[in-house]
C-alpha cells in the first residue's frame, strides 16, 4: 500500500486525503473522478469502497456517503490472499484511473483498481472501483466459472455480489432518488450507508453478460491479431418486463482478452498502443481440477502508458 500511495501521489497526481499505515486506511481523490475512494486493510485482505466526503482517519461508515454499511472488510468488496510477499506488481495509470495487478504469490495474480469511466452521456457520476476476490473453497477454487469469484471487472452474476465492482451514478433513469451507487448485479436489495438503494448494474467482463462470448475469441488465423475487448458498464433494471439495460460507459485502458497463445505479462501492440496481458488469476487447462487457483484462458489487458 505504501508503494501504491507513493505512485498515486507522485506522477499520477492523486491526492491522499488519508494515508496511515498504522490505522491501515487510505483515501484518495482526484479532480475529474466523481468520488473519493477509501482503502482499508488487514494483514491478508484489502477492502475498497467509494465515499462522497472525507471526514478523517475514521472507519468507512464514519466517512460521508459510504458505499457500505459495514466496516468489516470481508463483508464488503475486497481483495483476498494478499499476505505477501509479492513477487511482482504493476501499476497502470493515466489521467483518472489506477489499475493494479499484483502477483500475490508466484504465478498467481490479483486485480484491483479505481478511476473515472469513459462515460456515455452527461449523467452525474462515473467513478468506479473493483477488487480481486477469489474464493478458496475447494469446490470453486479451480473453477473460474464459479460465481463465487469476483476478480477485477468480471461480470459475475449474483452470489456475494456485494463483492463486485461498483460505480457512482446519481439521478439515473429507473432508479429511486436519492441514490448514488451501482454495483455489479446484486441478487438481493442492498443499501448504502445512507440507506439509499444500491442499483443493479453489469460490468461485462469475463464472467457473464452479453459480452462474455468475446472470451471465446482467439487470435486471427491470418495474422495472429488478438482482440482486446472493451469492458462496458451497464445499468440493468429488473423492475420492468422485460428487463431494461442502459450503456453507461467503458472502463478506460483495460480490456478482456483470451490469453490463448499469449504468455503472462506479454506485451501486445495494437496500432500505436501497447497492452500488457495477465491472467485473471493463473492460466489453467479447461477441466483440470487440482484444487488451486486457475482461470483457464481468461485474462485482462492493460494499456501501457509511459510519459
Amino acid at each position: 500500500m505504501d508503494k501504491l500511495n507513493t505512485f498515486l501521489t507522485g506522477t499520477a497526481g492523486w491526492t491522499a486525503d488519508l494515508f496511515n499505515l498504522t490505522t491501515r486506511r487510505a483515501v484518495w481523490s482526484k479532480a475529474g473522478v466523481s468520488c473519493k475512494v477509501m482503502f482499508y486493510w488487514d494483514t491478508n485482505n484489502i477492502g475498497n469502497a467509494m465515499i462522497q466526503t472525507y471526514v478523517g482517519d475514521v472507519a468507512l461508515t464514519s466517512q460521508g456517503g459510504a458505499e457500505y454499511t459495514s466496516n468489516t472488510i470481508t463483508s464488503n468488496r475486497y481483495t483476498n490472499m494478499m499476505t505477501g510477499p509479492y513477487p511482482s506488481y504493476h501499476f497502470f495509470e493515466d489521467d483518472n484511473y489506477i489499475h493494479v495487478v499484483v502477483e500475490r504469490s508466484s504465478g498467481i495474480y490479483r486485480h484491483f483498481g479505481f478511476g473515472q469511466m469513459n462515460k456515455l452521456g452527461d449523467w452525474v457520476g462515473g467513478c468506479y472501483v473493483y477488487s480481486g476476490y477469489w474464493d478458496q473453497n475447494a469446490s470453486y477454487i479451480d473453477n473460474p466459472h464459479s460465481i463465487q469469484h469476483h476478480m477485477g471487472l468480471h461480470g459475475a452474476n449474483s452470489n456475494n455480489s456485494t463483492f463486485g465492482p461498483g460505480w457512482h451514478a446519481e439521478g439515473f433513469p429507473d432508479t429511486v432518488a436519492p441514490s448514488k451507487y451501482f454495483r455489479n448485479t446484486i441478487s438481493t436489495a442492498a443499501n448504502d450507508d445512507d440507506g439509499e438503494d444500491i442499483n443493479n448494474g453489469f460490468v461485462f467482463g469475463y464472467m457473464d453478460g452479453p459480452n462474455v462470448q468475446f472470451m471465446a475469441l482467439q487470435e486471427s488465423s491470418l495474422n495472429g491479431f488478438k482482440p482486446l475487448m472493451p469492458i462496458p458498464f451497464y445499468q440493468w433494471y429488473f423492475g420492468s418486463a422485460p428487463d431494461r439495460a442502459r450503456l453507461m460507459g467503458y472502463v478506460p485502458d483495460m480490456r478482456t482478452v483470451n490469453m490463448h497463445g499469449l504468455t503472462v505479462g506479454q506485451e501486445v501492440v495494437v496500432g500505436a498502443d501497447t497492452w500488457v496481458v495477465f491472467p485473471v488469476v493463473r492460466p489453467g487447462n479447461e477441466g483440470l481440477s487440482f484444487n488451486q487457483e486457475q482461470s483457464y484462458n481468461y485474462g485482462y489487458a492493460y494499456k501501457k502508458v509511459t510519459t
Binding site: 456515455l120 452527461d122 457473464d208 462474455v212 462470448q213 472470451m215 475469441l217 491470418l222 495474422n223 483470451n258
Partner: protein, 358 residues
C-alpha cells in the same frame, strides 16, 4: 465519402439513379459502369432484365488498394408482384468477345446471388459510397431494403487479406415481394438463409464474404425453424451473432453462464419478448442511442474477428427511435450523424440498424 437520397419511380429507374450517382463521383471516388444494358437488354431470363457491372477502385481508400467488382441485375415476376435486383460480387470483369458474351453469372469468381426486393413504383432511397464500398437503403411500402457491396474493414493488411469483398441484400431468395414478412427475410443486421449448411455449394444466405482461400462463405445468424429464427453459429454478424458454444470450453470461454448478446437483447420470435431491452442513455441535447459496429465473426478454423461492415451499426429502437430518424454521436467533434432504419419488415426493438450519414 458521398451520399445521395431521392425518389426513384421503379426498380429499373433506381438502377439508373444508382449508376448515375456512383459514376458521377469521380475523381473523388472512382466507380465505373463497365457493363450497362439499361438501353439494350441482353438478359436471357426476361426481356426487361437489365444488367450493370461496376468497377470500383480503392487505390485511394486505404487497404486493400485495388479494384473491386460487383454487379446488379433486375428481375421481375409482375404477376406475383415481384420486382427487384440480384447482386453478385466478382474479382474482375470479362466482357468477352463479342462484347457482352460473358454473362452476369460467368464473370470472374462470381459470388452466389443475393436479392434486393423492390417495387415497380415510387420508392425513396439513400445511397452512401466511399472508395471501398456502397451501402443503400430503399423504402418499399413500410419495409426497408438493404444493400451492400464492397470491402470489409478487416483486421488484416492487404497482403494478409487481399480481397475482402462482401455482398449483401435483403433476401437470399428472389421469390419474396417487397411486402413479405418471412422470418428469414432479413438483412445484414441479422443475416439469414434457409439452410443449415455452411458449405457454400449448398448454402443459402443473404450475405457472402470472399475469404483468403478464394471461397465465398455465407454469413448468416439464423435460419427459419417453424415460426422462429433458429440460430446458426458458424459465420455470423455481431452483435446478434451466435457463437458455437461447443467451442467455448477449450477456448476458455464461460460456457456455464451464457448470456451472449443474442440471448439477452433478442427474441427468436417476431413480437417476442427478449430478456432485456437496450434503452437510451441520458444525454444532451438528446438521449443517446448506443451503436455497435456490425462485425463479422468466424468460428472456423478458430473463433476470430474478420472485419467490420464499414459505417453500419446495430442499434436498439427502445426509447422511441424509428426508421429514418437521425441520431447524433456528440462524443466526437464535429458531431457525427447516423440514419436509423429497421431490418426490412421488422419492428422489434432489437431489429434496427444505423448507417453513418456522411
Amino acid at each position: 465519402m458521398a451520399k445521395t437520397t431521392g425518389t426513384a419511380t421503379s426498380y429499373l429507374q433506381l438502377m439508373t439513379e444508382f449508376r448515375d450517382f456512383l459514376t458521377g463521383l469521380s475523381p473523388t471516388i472512382s466507380m465505373t459502369a463497365v457493363r450497362d444494358t439499361s438501353t439494350s437488354p441482353v438478359g436471357a431470363s426476361s426481356p426487361d432484365t437489365t444488367e450493370m457491372i461496376f468497377e470500383g477502385d480503392a487505390s485511394n481508400g486505404g487497404s486493400p488498394e485495388r479494384k473491386w467488382y460487383f454487379g446488379i441485375r433486375s428481375y421481375q415476376d409482375s404477376g406475383s408482384g415481384i420486382f427487384g435486383w440480384g447482386v453478385r460480387g466478382y474479382t474482375g470483369f470479362d466482357d468477352g468477345s463479342p462484347v457482352g458474351s460473358v454473362s452476369f453469372d460467368d464473370q470472374p469468381d462470381p459470388s452466389p446471388e443475393v436479392y434486393v426486393p423492390l417495387q415497380d413504383t415510387s420508392m425513396t432511397y439513400w445511397i452512401w459510397a466511399n472508395e471501398r464500398r456502397v451501402v443503400m437503403v430503399v423504402k418499399t411500402g413500410t419495409s426497408y431494403q438493404w444493400f451492400h457491396a464492397g470491402f470489409l474493414d478487416t483486421f488484416a493488411t492487404e497482403t494478409e487479406y487481399p480481397y475482402p469483398l462482401m455482398i449483401c441484400g435483403s433476401s437470399f431468395a428472389n421469390t419474396y415481394t417487397f411486402a413479405a414478412n418471412n422470418i428469414d427475410y432479413s438483412s445484414m443486421i441479422d443475416p439469414a438463409g434457409n439452410s443449415t449448411e455452411a458449405i457454400p455449394a449448398s448454402a443459402t444466405s443473404v450475405m457472402w464474404v470472399r475469404f483468403t482461400d478464394g471461397t465465398w462463405w455465407p454469413i448468416k445468424n439464423f435460419r427459419t425453424s417453424g415460426t422462429t429464427a433458429s440460430a446458426l453459429g458458424d459465420r455470423n454478424v455481431w452483435p446478434l451473432a451466435s457463437f458455437v458454444t461447443s467451442d467455448w470450453p477449450t477456448d476458455g470461454a464461460n460456457a456455464g453462464a451464457v448470456r451472449e448478446w443474442r440471448a439477452a437483447f433478442y427474441s427468436s420470435t417476431a413480437g417476442g419478448t427478449p430478456t432485456v431491452l437496450l434503452a437510451q442513455t441520458p444525454g444532451s441535447p438528446d438521449d443517446i442511442t448506443p451503436l455497435f459496429p456490425l462485425t463479422i465473426i468466424w468460428n472456423t478454423p478458430s473463433t476470430q474477428l474478420i472485419g467490420e461492415i464499414s459505417g453500419v451499426f446495430w442499434c436498439s429502437s427502445t426509447g422511441g427511435v424509428t426508421s429514418e430518424d437521425e441520431i447524433i454521436d456528440n462524443a466526437v467533434s464535429p458531431e457525427q450523424k447516423y440514419l436509423v432504419f429497421k431490418n426490412v419488415h421488422r419492428t422489434d426493438a432489437w431489429q434496427f440498424g444505423a448507417v453513418k450519414d456522411e
